[in-house]
């Protein structure tokens, strides 16, 4: 089960410019599976990304737009992107600035579908 879940991350980490990917328990903010490069604190990213996703969910709910389907937080040196999956999971990727974000989004979506 865990190996299967972890395998869902491989296509994401193969995208050039992705520094790590993880599957996170959205309610608990803890790592379920991860594949990250050195320098990426998976536990911290998982906790903070899950917290961010929960707050964004409230914002989109309040705006009457339903649940977020894609979260893209752009920073100076890269981005954090996340896609909610079934079973209260969140697929998260940490990228460099020069990544093909469309491709990352596609792979995150596919990974989320695999987890369904």
């Amino acid at each position: 089960m865990t190996a299967g879940i972890g395998a869902a991350l491989e296509p994401i980490t193969r995208v050039r410019g992705v520094r790590g990917a993880m599957i996170v328990s959205a309610a608990e903010g803890i790592v379920v599976a991860e594949s990250v490069m050195e320098g990426v604190d998976a536990q911290a990213v998982a906790a903070l990304a899950a917290g961010l996703a929960a707050r964004l969910r409230r914002a989109t709910d309040a705006a009457g737009r339903g649940a977020p389907v894609f979260i893209h937080l752009e920073a100076e040196a890269g981005a954090i992107v996340a896609v909610p999956a079934e079973r209260d999971l969140l697929v998260v990727a940490v990228t460099q600035a020069d990544v093909n974000i469309g491709l990352v989004r596609l792979e995150l979506r596919r990974a989320a579908d695999r987890l369904a």
Binding site: E28, G29, I30, V31, A46, A47, G51
Partner: protein, 153 residues
């Protein structure tokens, strides 16, 4: 937030702010309260500190009997709230933190900022003598004194 040891205030305030925890209780391994946030009744603090210290003592003994290292933390996820309980060492003593969080936070966030809290408390702890051992006969009066300080009555 109410504290008995003033140097605890800043790290604990930061932890509460970052983790969005609802309740927090910092106590010694024997259950004497060092700081609290979110409790409104002394009785609740007294109960939570006694139970928290007892749970840590029980799980540490269980770990010892199993030949395992001490458990790092204990967490319980309820439907609407979660509880996080962990013991750690500051230079002068062994302390316990009990945290209750709701949907504004998560176990991951509490764990993440708990690690930071421990580092900050270890750095902020004043040099000095180790606190005296608490005798059973003194425990109630010490606890009552702590509660009076925390609740101002």
């Amino acid at each position: 937030m109410r504290v008995i040891e003033p140097w605890v205030a800043e790290p604990l305030h930061r932890f509460l702010s970052e983790s969005s925890a609802r309740l927090a209780l910092l106590m010694t391994a024997s259950g004497q309260v060092v700081a609290q946030h979110g409790f409104t009744r002394a009785l609740d603090v007294m109960t939570a500190s006694a139970l928290g210290a007892a749970i840590v003592a029980s799980t540490e003994e269980l770990a010892r009997q199993m030949g395992a290292g001490p458990f790092r933390a204990l967490s319980h996820q309820g439907r609407a709230q979660g509880l996080f309980l962990s013991a750690f060492t500051v230079p002068r003593a062994r302390w316990i933190v009990l945290v209750v969080y709701d949907s504004d936070s998560s176990l991951g966030l509490v764990q993440l900022f708990f690690d930071q809290l421990v580092r900050e408390l270890q750095a902020a702890a004043p040099e000095g003598e180790a606190p005296r051992d608490v005798l059973a006969a003194d425990f109630e009066s010490d606890l009552n004194a702590s509660l009076r300080s925390l609740f101002g009555r």
